[in-house]
Amino acid sequence: MSNSIEQTLNDLLKYLLKSGKVSAVFSLRKINEGGSVDYGLITDIEKLVEIAPFHPLMPVNAGQLLGRFTPMKKPVAAVVRPCEYRAFVELAKREQGQMDNFLFITYSCGGVFKLKDNAEDKVKNKLDGYWKAVKNSEIPDDIRPTCKACEYIEPFDADIYVSLVGEENGKIYLNSEKAKNMLEDSEFNFKKDKFDPAILNELLKKRAVKKTELYASVDTSKTGLDGLIDIFGRCIGCHGCNAVCPICYCTLCDFESFNYDYNTPILEKELAEKGALRLPPDTLFFHLGRLSHMSFSCVGCGMCSDVCPALIPVAAVFKKTGEETAGMFAYVAGRKLDEDIPVMIYKEEEFPELGE
């Protein structure tokens, strides 16, 4: 990636912080030479040098972090990926976050590498190739499978959009009145025109192909339950997928509650009837439950697959199911704050066959 766009963004954030228009900047940072990154909430201008806003790693879905500590009482500029932004929008709809006081900066994201690859020091030498691919509207090698298949990298409602895909040097667009007002006194000379999503088309076409391949790899429409057992059978029940999911906001998941702590006679009855009982129980039930609870809002960020110790393609299954369920209602998770989550509203004219 060209250093200049990162420098321009840094200058912009510096201006916002210095002028007091924001009290803090939220961004990815490099925290050591080893390539570790974290999200930082930065109040000191001197510390802005540490940020790496476009670094292709996602240690946590930022939507999850931001949702947790809102309402934010002071203005904060947050640089997040489109799927992180969308996750936050979904959380806001579910009253798990408030978007007030945030200046959202998002960008056309080339995808992120797997956390494991970074831990094994395999990312450093792939960065040059990654940025070359982004510039050329190609899919970088070795990024998360769901990133390869991601079709949602437009600005949506974010305040500022940095166009990286297909750009030689990157461009910054002010996408909201809020952003324009905040920067009207500044000396920045940002493009006045609106971002034209046509520049994403070449990449999106390639990603659509990858998506078809990805979904075919987890297609259980013909195999049904057996197919699902094949996919989730090696689950160890750590519920890491749920813990890192930005949408799974429950403080205590139902599947970890007393509801699934069966009395001994119930277990014995099941054991006697079936002849055998897998322990811990409810392995597949957990995933089906989570699918029905959150797949409408799944943003396909891929955190779940990245943390799965049993290497289950969780994200592919959830993204596919999510798009199918949400698609029935022409709903796209996180697209707009004022679009209601389909399961939260009921329209009389919906599903007439059910009504009859």
């Binding site: 009290s23 803090a24 925290i31 050591n32 080893g34 570790s36 974290d38 999200y39 930082g40 909430l41 930065i42 109040t43 000191d44 540490e50 240690p59 946590v60 947790r68 500590f69 934010m72 009482k73 002071k74 956390l115 494991k116 970074n118 831990a119 094994e120 057996d226 057992i229 094949d230 059978g233 090696r234 160890i236 750590c238 519920h239 890491g240 813990a243 890192v244 403080t251 205590l252 509650s257 702590d261 009395n263 001994t264 006679p265 277990l267 014995e268 054991l271 006697a272 079936k274 002849g275 055998a276 009982l277 897998r278 322990l279 811990p280 129980p281 990245d306 943390v307 110790p309 290497l311």
Partner: protein, 384 residues
């Protein structure tokens, strides 16, 4: 445990060890000594194992008593069956020694109830990494079969924490399958175990000396590995800066805690709303140092977990297996556990009879603290 209960009997040996042990459980169920047996079984996709409580003889024949990997600690599985207390079925459960130790700790923590359960264990060659198995089940199956045939207790291929485990043989189970040369000896290790051998009308007359000598030799090698490893781990675990560096990649997923057999809390303190401060607190934290690292308190989570569970840590290594960013959690916790357990002269899972150190207070413990209390009392007395 008194030595006179430790009696060995020669197990009828089939063509392989797996079959011999499975045959034992099949016979025991047929003789109605047990209603069900908890054993590992391959999952339908064939690339991992799961714990199955088996009642039906037709299903039992497909179990694989000695699993090459440990996806879930058996104590976690048994907890989910026995947590609500006594039932009407008599249960046999076969597990690795570290799983027995976790079961014993969970029993003390009131999460496992052993009234209906007879515990079996065996000499453990170690577990191979689960992700290796998922990638190549047949290859790892072959590797594991060879470890068993060779009675190789010092393999380089097992999980890092298994290489340094010096408690891989006789443990607090009721019965123990000892692997001696070409034979399998069944050793009774409790009154319950001894009674079972009596019920089976088995003569407990096998000589255990040769086996004991072999295991002792292997134990010494592992103990030396452990000492060498701990020298390195000490530098990673002690001191705040070292801890920060060691855990720098932590993403706060808490997989280590949720896969830990000892961390039984339904909801970890660090997942409660108390541990998720509001924006005022986060802003204050950021302003204190110019920036705050998020999620907050990732190191505190690990030190908190150390304080909570290291006295009961059995070094099964599941935390490391579950870590998505390759932090050597198990080695760190195993080292810390060795230190905290030494402080209290406690060995996790050694016996149900040993009280959990944090659950009892001895007057002679922590002498310097006692002195402080006394001097404070004296001070108060003189003030009056």
């Amino acid at each position: 445990m008194t030595d006179n209960i430790r009696k060995g009997t020669l197990l009828k040996t089939e063509e392989d060890m797996q079959k011999s042990i499975l045959q034992f459980f099949q016979d025991a169920v047929e003789k109605k000594l047990f209603d069900a047996v908890m054993l590992p079984m391959k999952v339908p996709s064939g690339d991992s194992f799961a714990w199955i409580m088996i009642k039906d003889a037709a299903i039992l024949k497909d179990a694989q008593p000695l699993a090459p990997i440990m996806p879930v600690n058996a104590a976690t599985a048994l907890k989910r069956y026995t947590r609500k207390g006594k039932g009407k079925f008599k249960i046999a459960a076969l597990m690795k020694p570290c799983e027995i130790r976790a079961t014993i700790e969970l029993t003390k923590l009131n999460q496992v109830h052993l009234d209906d359960v007879t515990l079996f264990t065996y000499d453990c060659v170690g577990a191979l990494p689960m992700q290796d198995y998922i990638a190549d089940p047949e290859g790892v199956d072959g590797k594991f079969a060879k470890l068993l045939t060779d009675k190789n207790f010092n393999s380089k291929d097992v999980k890092p924490v298994c290489k340094i485990c010096d408690k891989f043989s006789l443990s607090a189970s009721d019965l123990h399958f000892a692997f001696s040369d070409k034979d399998i000896l069944l050793i009774s290790n409790s009154e319950k175990g001894e009674k079972l051998l009596t019920d089976l009308e088995w003569k407990a007359d096998a000589d255990l000396k040769k086996w004991q000598k072999y295991i002792d030799e292997k134990t010494n090698i592992r103990a030396k590995n452990k000492a060498d490893t701990f020298k390195i781990v000490k530098g990673m675990a002690e001191g705040f800066d070292n801890l920060v560096e060691t855990f720098s990649n932590c993403i706060g997923c808490h997989n280590c805690s949720s896969s830990c057999p000892i961390c039984y809390c339904r909801q970890c303190y660090f997942d409660t709303s108390v541990a998720k401060p509001n924006s005022d607190v986060i802003m204050m934290r950021a302003e204190e140092r110019g920036a705050a690292s998020l999620p907050l308190d990732r190191i505190m989570f690990h030190t908190g977990r150390m304080a909570h569970m290291s006295l009961s840590c059995v070094s099964c290594g599941l935390c490391s297996d579950a870590c998505p960013v390759n932090i050597p959690v198990a080695k760190i916790f195993s080292y810390v556990a060795s230190q905290t357990q030494k402080t209290f002269g406690y060995s996790a899972g050694a016996s149900v009879g040993d009280a959990l150190p944090m659950k009892e207070y001895k007057l002679n413990e922590l002498g310097e603290l006692g002195k402080l209390v006394k001097s404070a009392e004296a001070q108060e007395g003189s003030n009056e």
